[in-house]
Amino acid sequence: MITRVLVLTVFIGIVSCQVFSQSSVNNTDYRDVYVGRYLCTCFYQGVDSNQNKLTYHNDTITIYITKDPLDSILIIDIGQNMYQVKLKKEIIYAYPSGNHWGGRLSTNGISFGLSTSMTTMCKYKGKKEPNKKTEK
């Protein structure tokens, strides 16, 4: 009798674990840990109005990472420009394709390079802000 109870208990335990495990998988989205607000420094290079020299300076800018409606795609939102990306081993790949930008995104920071036009570029580096709402 004791043996039957033990077997039944183990069986119920296994079923419970399987149910819990499946539920966890279904609710996990790899993107969740990246979604948020990143306070960044932009190391900027551009051409001056007289087109006779390059100018350099630093700016502080907020980048927002949000989830795209498409499965597994993230959006990097910088000012009025947005970039669809897919992460592989924390490396940013343009989705479905893109030019003139790239970088890395980890759970605690972003390093993102972008040629904003043919004469300007910015390297964004920043950390994710904790305990902030992700909405703009």
């Binding site: 190391f43 630093n58 800018i61 420009n81 893109g98 003139h100 004469t119």
Partner: protein
């Protein structure tokens, strides 16, 4: 057969010879072109630019990119990043940049062979102008054919883009400029031969053309989202820094690696057969009535309004190629006849005055 109202099909366009280039003779680097960027050998690519990479064959201009041996160290940092002590350039490229901002509306076209099959190739044909002291400040750019990274590797795609200043932002700030890139598929390998890449630019619209066919249109009757200022023309061949293999001092987590792509794809060339700039005559304050269409193309201009028929019997024959262009309206009144009796065409175009 549909035909675009472009210079290839419409002699009313006038070639601006002073702002065009056939590349049949030595380029005028004293008065017409800079032989590199006017601000020096560096721009936002991963290449160091040299005039020696502008190769004039007698019929074409070939802009070369290559590895750079020995490399060139540039300091202070190109990124204004205090953690950097400068970077080492291991690639070289080239650019020509018009000394005058001669390009202001009209039709601008190159015939060119673009390089393909390698991610970091970044050749481009573009227009640019910026004035941060103007009120309001502006940064205008039209990228007529800009192929970086994915486009260059793929070989069957052409990048189009344009940029405008975002009102209220710092003219030199990181987010001062809009960007609206679209990639267009083409049915040929870009490096397989010469093809035409062009922009039709009006105050209220931009139309990109590839081999005489429109591939993208931006229309804004207010003109607010269309570049409005005269610009310089640029042809260059760069290395896309976000995809290239670079020395360790670029330190770069901002770069997306794309497989094991050793620099065995050099030298490479962006070859241009010609650059041609066309404009239409304008007469935008006049209203005209056409009774007897003239076959004299030189008399055709953009008018405020054009009326036909009415008290006249006006006949257009498609043995001619006739475009009625007006800023406000074109009225085909009773008495107007269009005879489909030739291989030409008849068209109406109502657009803002391109002057």
């Amino acid at each position: 057969m549909a035909k675009s109202q472009i210079p290839a099909n419409d002699p009313a366009w006038h070639l601006q010879t002073g702002s065009s280039e056939e590349f049949n003779s030595s380029l005028d680097f004293t008065n017409k072109w800079y032989n590199q960027y006017p601000f020096g050998p560096l721009n936002n690519g991963a290449e160091y630019n040299y005039p020696a990479n502008l190769i004039q064959t007698g019929t074409t201009l070939k802009i070369k990119v290559d590895t750079l041996v020995p490399s060139v160290h540039h300091s202070p940092s190109v990124y204004a990043d205090p953690d950097y002590l400068g970077v080492t350039y291991v690639y070289q490229g080239g650019a020509i940049w018009s000394r005058s901002k001669d390009y202001h509306f009209g039709y601008l076209e190159i015939s060119a062979r673009f390089p393909t099959s390698y991610y970091p190739y970044w050749p481009a044909f573009w227009l640019w102008s910026k004035d941060c002291s103007a009120q309001p400040p502006y940064t205008d750019e039209i990228d007529i054919a800009e192929n970086g990274a994915y486009n260059s590797e793929n070989g069957y795609m052409v990048g189009t883009n344009y940029h405008l200043h975002i009102p209220g932002t710092d003219c030199y700030g990181p987010d001062h400029s809009t960007s609206d890139e679209e990639t267009k598929d083409v049915p040929f390998l870009l490096s397989s031969g010469f093809h035409k890449y062009a922009i039709g630019w009006w105050p209220d619209r931009l139309i990109w053309y590839i081999d005489d066919s429109p591939v993208r249109t931006i229309y804004d009757p207010t003109g607010a989202s269309i570049p409005q200022h005269a610009m310089a023309a640029i042809l260059n061949f760069a290395i896309d820094p976000w995809y290239a293999y670079l020395p360790s001092d670029w330190n770069d987590e901002s770069i997306t690696p794309h497989g094991n792509r050793s620099p065995t794809f050099f030298p490479q060339y962006f070859e241009i057969d010609y650059l041609r700039y066309y404009k239409l005559d304008t007469d935008c304050n006049n209203d005209i009535t056409i009774c007897t269409p003239s076959s004299d193309y030189s008399s055709r201009a953009v008018e405020r309004s054009i009326s036909t028929g009415g008290g006249c019997s006006t006949t257009f024959n498609t043995s001619d190629s006739y475009v009625l262009r007006a800023t406000d309206y074109v009225l085909l009144d009773v008495g107007t006849t269009i005879n489909a009796n030739g291989s030409g065409y008849f068209a109406i175009e109502v657009a803002a005055c391109p002057e």
